[in-house]
């Protein structure tokens, strides 16, 4: 074949990379993460999920404009119009503790009277305020719990994976032990022992959810680090003489952490459900605090009379369900994207 003399000029081939065009975002995120992100954005369900979450972020950010707080009062304390246990229907007039009318109300409704838009709950707490300001509580508790559990999970998981051996063994057994108690029961107990010590507030519940919420993350991050640790590019970094610390922070963690981060961001929604469950069991915030779990718990005794009092269940219920569903929609798509890794986690 040596006699064959080709004639064409192929130097242009040098400038061809990639089979398909690759955008800036993809380049920034890297292929695996990009696959996760596009996977999420391309699924219609998860797109709806993002829209829902965005909507709630909007409400949380503009809460003071949507529902102006009572002068001189803690805005997270739901304004209470009287003391009666019977809920009052939507559109009922404010009698006491009437907050300022929000700017949007009159132009939008044409009404001049600021009313209980969504009615009042048992104890005359305004449901509208509870929902609007509760959005902030939902994000705050969700973010705080998620951030804390994530932080603990990452630190513990990284230590476990990085040091291996006995350290790993002991940490993982501790994780096993913590996982033995059903989450809700464990959180319930911790919140119950903490509440008499520090009073009713968000803190005991959050502390309990944090204390028993980090194990999943540490397991995942540990597994990811262990698998990334074995990748060739980590070995390649050692070959070129990169220091251990740089290997960990530049090569291992950036490649191991993303799925955990995405997972964690979705757990922000779950926290609300836990809060609602614990509120139902009587472990929650002080009465009247703008927390959806509590607003919904106000409704617990009226759910069986929905024909009359539907609004006290429906509004907080729908809010909470939509909020959680937002995350669940994204999460469901994520599970498909991350598939094998997600196995075993509900």
């Amino acid at each position: 074949m040596a006699e064959i003399k080709p004639s064409g000029d192929n130097t242009l081939l040098k400038d061809t990379i990639s089979i398909r065009p690759i955008g800036r975002v993809e380049r920034f995120l890297g292929p695996e993460n990009y696959r996760i992100v596009t996977g999420l954005l391309k699924t219609p369900a998860s797109f709806i999920g993002f829209v829902l979450i965005g909507f709630f972020i909007f409400i949380a950010v503009f809460a003071p404009l949507i529902a102006p707080p009572l002068e001189g009062r803690d805005p997270y304390q739901i304004p209470r119009d009287g003391f009666s246990s019977d809920p009052r229907p939507m559109g009922t007039e404010w009698k006491r503790n009437r907050p300022e009318m929000p700017f949007w109300y009159q132009p939008l409704t044409g009404q001049t009277q600021w009313v209980h838009l969504l009615g009042t709950s048992e104890g005359q707490y305004d449901i509208f305020y509870g929902i609007i300001w509760g959005t902030r509580t939902a994000f705050f508790t969700g973010l705080a719990v998620t951030f804390a559990t994530l932080l603990i999970g990452i630190v513990v998981g990284s230590v476990s994976a990085y040091y291996g051996g006995w350290v790993d063994n002991i940490i993982m057994r501790v994780v096993d032990v913590l996982l033995i108690l059903p989450g809700i029961l464990a959180a319930l107990i911790l919140a119950a022992v903490l509440t008499p010590r520090i009073g009713k507030s968000l803190i005991p519940t959050m502390a309990a959810l944090i204390a028993f919420g980090w194990m999943g993350y540490s397991r995942i991050i540990r597994g990811d680090i262990l698998s990334v640790k074995e990748r060739d590019y980590v070995m390649a970094a050692r070959v070129i003489g990169v220091k251990d610390s740089r290997i960990l922070f530049r090569h291992i963690i950036p490649n191991a952490i993303f799925p955990t981060l995405v997972l964690a961001s979705l757990a922000v929604g779950e926290v609300v459900l836990s809060f609602a469950a614990l509120s139902f069991l009587g472990i929650g915030t002080e009465v009247g605090y703008a927390d959806w779990g509590q607003v919904l718990s106000f409704a617990r005794n009226w759910i069986t009379s929905l024909n009359t009092y539907w609004y006290i269940v429906v509004w907080p219920g729908v809010t909470l369900v939509l909020y959680v569903m937002g995350y669940n929609l994204v999460g469901d798509a994520l599970r498909d994207v991350l598939d094998p890794r997600m196995r075993g986690r509900s």
């Binding site: 074949m1 064959i4 080709p6 064409g8 192929n10 081939l13 061809t16 089979i19 398909r20």
Partner: protein, 329 residues
């Protein structure tokens, strides 16, 4: 046509992917004679496996789909058959073995159970008969203490042994055609030699036709009678084996042969390299898919996709250029 055991005409298969529709097989036609060994050669992604899976209707759908073509087996179009009908062809008339013997066997089933399945299904044997036959088959493919090893699980077998089991399973119902999809790629070279020897022996004994898919031109040289070379979902060269190696006529085939170092080379020669990379076709190509990498490329190549044309008896090439002269054909 009647002498063809298998006659594939105009086969087209596509896959739906997140990036678009991949045109994996783009109108492939070929025939297989009784008792013939046909080598199908090409690089990964050239459509060689998909072609064969399409013929047996084993393409996962979705995402894959056979969009056009016919595949006659003894005059019956496999692609038009009912599911029930094709089931009786698969395993019984046309058997297939795969690249990775590790994953081709069901890990939670004993070897014996997997072996007797086609026997009971296609040959109507009862369990005892099937078990006895399974032991014979294992013996036939050279597995020592065959009857004892029937109750083992795949993970207790070595890679080469597993591929032997696969062959035994494929041949258990005396099929007319054995389709081997890169069956030795995952194996070491000495094991590969064992398997090839085994297949040659069985071919001689049983007389079935073989379609051997591989990227290794070396294997084909020693095994096949006729060779198809595929690129970008097209057959770009088809020839008797001797003729192909003596007179490769497509620039790709030439490049491929040139890029292989030969064990028997004496003086070190610089390898002939094909620049660029094989295409993934998101659109059905209107030009020659090899044109971007071709050193003989001319204007026509960019405008029209050449069809297979006979350049010498039983030697057909899809190229506008006569590489011997460097001019248009």
């Amino acid at each position: 046509m009647s002498d063809l055991l298998l006659d594939v005409q105009g086969l087209e298969t596509q896959f739906r992917t997140p990036d678009g529709i991949v045109h994996a097989v783009n109108g492939v036609s070929f025939g297989l004679k009784e008792g013939e060994t046909l080598g199908v050669v090409g690089e990964s992604g050239c459509g060689k496996s998909v072609t064969m899976l399409s013929v047996l209707r084993l393409i996962a759908s979705p995402p894959g789909k056979v969009v056009a073509g016919k595949a006659f087996y003894r005059g019956q179009d496999l692609l038009q058959m009912s599911d029930e009908e094709i089931r009786h062809i698969r395993g019984a008339q046309m058997a297939m073995i795969f690249q990775d013997p590790m994953t081709s066997l069901n890990p939670v089933m004993t070897i014996g159970r997997q072996l007797i399945e086609p026997l009971m299904l296609h040959l109507g044997m009862n369990k005892d008969q099937a078990n006895a036959r399974a032991a014979e088959l294992l013996e036939m493919v050279g597995i020592p203490h065959a009857s004892e090893r029937l109750s083992d699980y795949p993970h207790q077998y070595s890679g080469g042994m597993r591929q032997r089991v696969m062959i035994a399973m494929a041949l258990s119902c005396n099929p007319q055609i054995l389709i081997a999809d890169e069956p030795t790629t995952a194996l070491d070279v000495t094991i590969q030699a064992q398997i090839i020897e085994l297949v040659k022996r069985l071919r001689d004994e049983l007389g079935m036709a073989i379609i051997w898919i591989t990227h290794d031109l070396g294997i084909v040289a020693g095994l096949a009678q006729r060779v198809l070379v595929m690129y970008g979902g097209f057959i770009i060269e088809e020839s008797q084996v001797i003729d192909l190696y003596a007179n490769p006529s497509h620039p790709y085939t030439i490049g491929l042969l040139g890029s292989l170092p030969r064990l028997d080379e004496i003086e070190r020669q610089r390898l002939f390299s094909i620049e660029g990379m094989p295409p993934v076709l998101y659109n059905k190509p209107t030009a020659c898919p090899f044109a971007p990498r071709c050193k003989w490329v001319m204007d026509r190549c960019w405008q029209e996709n050449p069809a297979l044309t006979e350049v010498s008896p039983e030697h057909r090439v899809a190229c506008w250029v006569d590489v011997k002269t460097g001019k248009a054909r």
